[in-house]
């Protein structure tokens, strides 16, 4: 506890890198530009901006010859030892003319379950940075960002905006924050798999990190379905899943995050809550686990059934009042609440 507390204090209370502190510094440094006085709306809540386009991505079926609904055998079983989730908050801190300077906060935490109560494993990661298209800024503005007491991320270092539209620049910053958030999640997950044997429930996919994707004690649970890993003819199977049914296991390449460190994983869909009278994605999650080399079909089936039962056990207590309660494990909601409190 002492170690965790000390680490947390170091991370959070070094130089004040919070949004308001950084915004004050920028306003002082960039006096020739009008400071923002209102409380900006988080880009995560903005209706405009970068969103992943809906897509279908076919995946290699590893279980059976044809995709089909499979009823789980056995009762749900609580096996997870910990839950990992990340969070981000993206706010425009300053406008240098038409160029937005975005303050981003990314964080991740693992909440370990001991005696049915959740406590923090090690220390959470909380990082603040300014995200801006540095080449578009004047020398003075760039210097002011450097002097703001927080890391500066050049949003054009890896990718140019589609246009010079300020909103496009905002989207660019948003995507970088999103990537950083995934990075801190992976960083924390890698710490876990390096030292812990307990089973870790990760909110989201695990393919982004080869170390994590190869670990037997990690399960990724994806609850958003902008991209569906299925052939068009298999959509009916996914939509028709009943509670306690899953699809056959498929192989998903680590291509969603096109990085060399990614790795293929085994994945399947599972219905955790009845979608009767609701949209077909209600209570639908996609599970990712390490893809064992040369795994026999029977082994794969048992693994998928076991993991599905473990995930089903996390339906109680409900993650209410989160609107995604139908797909969210309570441990993940707890992690989100934790991060909301500390970031």
């Amino acid at each position: 506890m002492g170690e965790q507390g000390d680490t947390l204090r170091t991370v959070v209370s070094a130089t004040d890198t919070s949004f308001h502190a950084v915004r004050r510094r920028l306003s002082n440094a960039l006096r020739d530009t009008a400071p923002l006085t209102d409380v900006p709306r988080a880009l995560e809540l903005s209706e405009r901006g970068a969103r992943e386009a809906p897509a279908l991505r076919e995946a290699e079926l590893l279980e059976g010859r044809k995709q089909a609904a499979r009823r789980l055998s056995g009762d749900p079983e609580a096996r997870f030892d910990a839950f990992l989730d990340g969070s981000q908050l993206t706010l425009v801190a300053h406008w240098v003319g038409p160029v937005p300077v975005v303050h981003g906060t990314v964080s991740a935490v693992i909440r370990r379950r001991l005696d049915r109560r959740l406590t923090t494993w090690r220390a959470p990661i909380v990082r603040h940075a300014l995200y801006a298209p540095v080449p578009l800024l004047s020398r003075a503005a760039a210097d002011a960002l450097d002097a703001a007491g927080v890391d500066v991320v050049d949003t054009m270092a890896q990718r140019d905006p589609d246009t010079a539209h300020p909103f496009a620049l905002q989207d660019l910053a948003y995507l970088r924050v999103l990537a950083d958030r995934e990075r801190v999640e992976q960083e924390l997950a890698e710490q876990w798999v390096a030292v812990e044997d307990g089973l870790l429930f990760i909110d989201g996919g695990i393919a982004g990190s080869a170390k994590v994707a190869a670990a037997d004690n990690v399960v990724g649970v994806v609850k958003t379905h902008q991209t569906l890993h299925a052939a068009p003819e298999d959509l009916q199977v996914i939509a028709g899943l009943a509670v306690g049914e899953r699809t056959g296991v498929v192989r998903i390449a680590g291509s969603r995050v096109p990085r060399a460190r990614s790795r293929a994983v085994a994945s399947w869909y599972l219905r955790t809550a009845s979608a009767a009278g609701r949209d077909p994605f209600f209570g639908l999650v996609r599970i990712e686990v390490a893809l064992a080399t040369n795994a026999q079909p029977a082994t794969l089936t048992k693994r998928a059934d076991d993991v599905s039962r473990w995930v089903l056990a996390e339906r109680t207590p409900l993650a209410i009042p989160d609107p995604r309660w139908d797909r969210m494990a309570y441990g993940i909601r707890d992690a989100e609440e934790y991060l909301r409190a500390v970031q």
Partner: protein, 646 residues
């Protein structure tokens, strides 16, 4: 242990703050905590002491229905949930003390810890009167939280005067908490009352049952009690010096008390008064609606001109010196006969004959209504006013008496205590007067009585004299406001919910009121002038025999004959006296004469009891049968020289 929290909706103030703790913390309602601030004010990091008055627990659920849905309406399945919901223990505390005390600011954010012994002393300002060598602390009990236990002291100067005084204790009947607490506290006072403040004694009125009748007998204690005694530095033993007083029964043979077992009679004394003792308090016994101004004037006249004086009047056949009810009756008889014989009209010295008859009737009636306490012949056996002893309990048993007699005893004893304390010649400098059923003697409503006026007077002015009232009652709300309001220290045992719903308890938080309604035996809530907030303490069982146990172990003596009653009374003065001697001595004498002789002997306590007792009787010559006188002849026979009788 916890952290202070404040939100816009639930901010902290200078008098109240909120904090949360881990789920397994030993914090509860009544726990004293210490807050260490984080930001110095004026160069000093603020430290705040508080007492928990309310607790909240909730989870991240927004509606109970969500929990129902989450468990499919089956409560049993909740126990199988993989994870327990996030839960909070949120407490509200009232500030006991802030350091520094100025500027008085809202409680800052900071860490919360259980108060240690030293913290408790500072929080309750006990540090101001527990200075080594000049401590005026009287242990009231221990405050417990978690594994911590701290003694709680009352300030003798605020308990027994002169700064403040008096103690009031409330609680439901049947738990013996009130009596036990007072007995314990008196032990504590007798042990810890500082010598530099003078001496102290207690006068207890036993108004019901055998509650206070075995204070000199050891009671049962368990190890936990003994540990408390040790912690509070009070010897776990009954009172060393106790004296009991009780009037006689109406017949006058034996004392009217449950403590009449012969084994315990050595420290039981009769309580009897004559005309002189009673007349000063006649107002207590006379119905004010009945005794009008005219009767009152005659009573005043009698007190000023007749009683204890040589009084002559043309109407009277003889001078009168009235010293007893019997002599008063003789005076009235002579007066009324004189008025009739002399046809002096319907008035005597402006007093109408009807008024005289009425006053005669009412005053003569006193010795009948208070038979056993008030004697016709004027024998007096009283409390030792003027020679009270330090650390001694004087118990007056009035439990079996009629209400009038109880009122008379109460009024006179307290008045005498006050008189002697004013003159500083009582024998002790402080007297604790314990009165149970205070709502009966000083009710908040109803007509004003002499006893209530006296209690109000003690409450308001007693602390300057060292006359301290310890009052107990079931319903504090029914006691006169000025009596409870002047009580510097208040104790509360388990309370009735209806009583707690009265306005007097509105200052307590709902949680504190609920705790009061469920207090265990041996627990009290204490309010004391030094304490900014009420404190919960635990006190040990008194080391004296419970009344019920005493009555079983020492059953009251059965009704006895006059001979046995006199024998038992005199044997206390002279163990050599035998029952046969008593029988011989009183043989042939009327009952009231024997009782008067016994009373006079007990009152005088002579060195030579037998001669003194014998001298109380006029010699009675035993009746002897007369020899039959020789019958006188109807006529003398003829003499020899006059055979014909001529």
């Amino acid at each position: 242990m916890g952290r202070v929290v404040a939100t816009e909706k639930k901010p902290n103030t200078a008098h109240e703050f909120h904090f949360w703790t881990s789920l397994d913390s030993p914090i509860g309602i009544g726990t004293i905590v210490r807050v260490d601030g984080e930001t110095p004010v004026g160069g000093q990091v603020p430290r705040v002491y508080g007492i928990v008055v309310e607790g909240y627990s909730y989870t991240d659920l927004q509606s109970p229905i969500h929990d129902v849905l989450g468990h499919d309406g089956a409560p049993a399945s909740a126990t199988q949930a993989a994870t327990l919901r996030a839960e909070i223990r949120l407490y509200t505390a009232h500030v006991l003390r802030q350091i520094p005390e100025e500027p008085l600011q809202p409680v800052p954010m900071g860490t919360v810890a259980l108060a240690s012994d030293e913290d408790v002393a500072v929080a309750l300002r006990m540090d101001t009167y527990l200075k080594p060598g000049e401590s005026t602390g009287i242990p009231a009990g221990v405050y417990r939280a978690g594994a911590m236990e701290a003694p709680i002291y009352l300030d003798a100067e605020f308990l027994l005067g002169p700064e403040a005084a008096h103690l009031n204790i409330s609680g439901v009947s049947g738990l013996a908490t009130k009596t036990s607490a007072v007995e314990w506290l008196m032990s504590s006072i007798f042990t810890h009352f500082p010598r530099q403040m003078g001496s102290v004694a207690a006068v207890c009125f036993n108004v019901k049952g055998p509650d206070l009748l075995f204070l000199d007998q050891p009671g049962e204690l368990d190890d936990a009690d003994r540990a408390l005694y040790e912690r509070l530095e009070v010897a776990p033993k009954p009172f060393d010096k106790v004296r009991y007083f009780a009037p006689y029964m109406a017949k006058g043979f034996s004392l009217n008390t449950i403590r009449s077992n012969e084994k315990l009679s050595q420290n039981v004394s009769p309580l009897t008064w004559g005309l002189n003792e009673v007349m000063q308090f006649a107002e207590v016994l006379l119905n004010r609606d009945d005794v009008d101004a005219k009767a009152d004037a005659l009573i005043d006249f009698l007190q000023e001109r007749v009683i204890n004086r040589e009084f002559t009047d043309p109407v009277l056949t003889t001078p009168h010196r009235v010293r007893s009810f019997a002599e008063l009756e003789t005076f009235f008889r002579d007066l009324l006969r004189g008025m009739e014989d002399r046809s002096s009209g319907e008035h005597w010295r402006t007093h109408h004959v009807a008024t005289i008859r009425k006053v005669r009737n009412r005053l003569s009636n006193i010795s009948t209504r208070c038979a056993g306490l008030v004697t016709d012949e004027g024998t007096v056996s009283d409390l030792p006013f003027g020679s009270f002893q330090d650390r001694t309990v004087y118990v007056v048993d009035v439990a079996s008496l009629e209400e009038d007699a109880q009122d008379l005893i109460f009024a006179r004893v307290v008045s005498k205590l006050r008189e002697h304390l004013e003159r500083r010649d009582l024998g002790v400098s402080h007297v604790v007067v314990f009165v149970d059923e205070l709502n009966k003697y000083a009710p908040g409503d109803g007509q004003d009585t002499y006893v209530r006026k006296m209690l109000l007077d003690i409450s308001e002015r007693g602390r300057y004299l060292g006359l301290v009232l310890f009052g107990a009652q079931q319903f504090r709300s029914q006691v006169h406001r000025r009596v409870v309001g002047n009580s510097g220290t208040s104790l509360y045992g388990r309370m009735d919910m209806d009583e707690l719903a009265t306005p007097g308890y509105a200052v307590l938080s709902p949680a504190t009121r609920t705790k009061l309604a469920t207090l265990e035996k041996g627990q009290l809530m204490v309010r004391h002038p030094h304490f900014a907030q009420p404190i919960f303490v635990r006190f040990p069982r008194p080391a004296v025999m419970r009344g019920r146990d005493g009555a079983e172990l020492f059953p009251p003596a059965a009704e006895v004959t006059l001979e046995v009653a006199v024998f038992r009374s005199l044997r206390q003065l002279d163990p050599a006296i035998s029952l046969d001697w008593v029988k011989r001595t009183i043989a042939g004498h009327e009952e009231h004469v024997v009782i008067r002789a016994r009373n006079e002997t007990v009152q005088a306590r002579p060195d030579r009891v037998q001669p003194f007792f014998e001298a109380r009787f006029r010699r009675v010559v035993p009746a002897e049968p007369l020899a039959a006188p020789a019958a006188a002849p109807l006529r003398h026979g003829p003499s020899s020289d006059d055979p014909y009788g001529f």
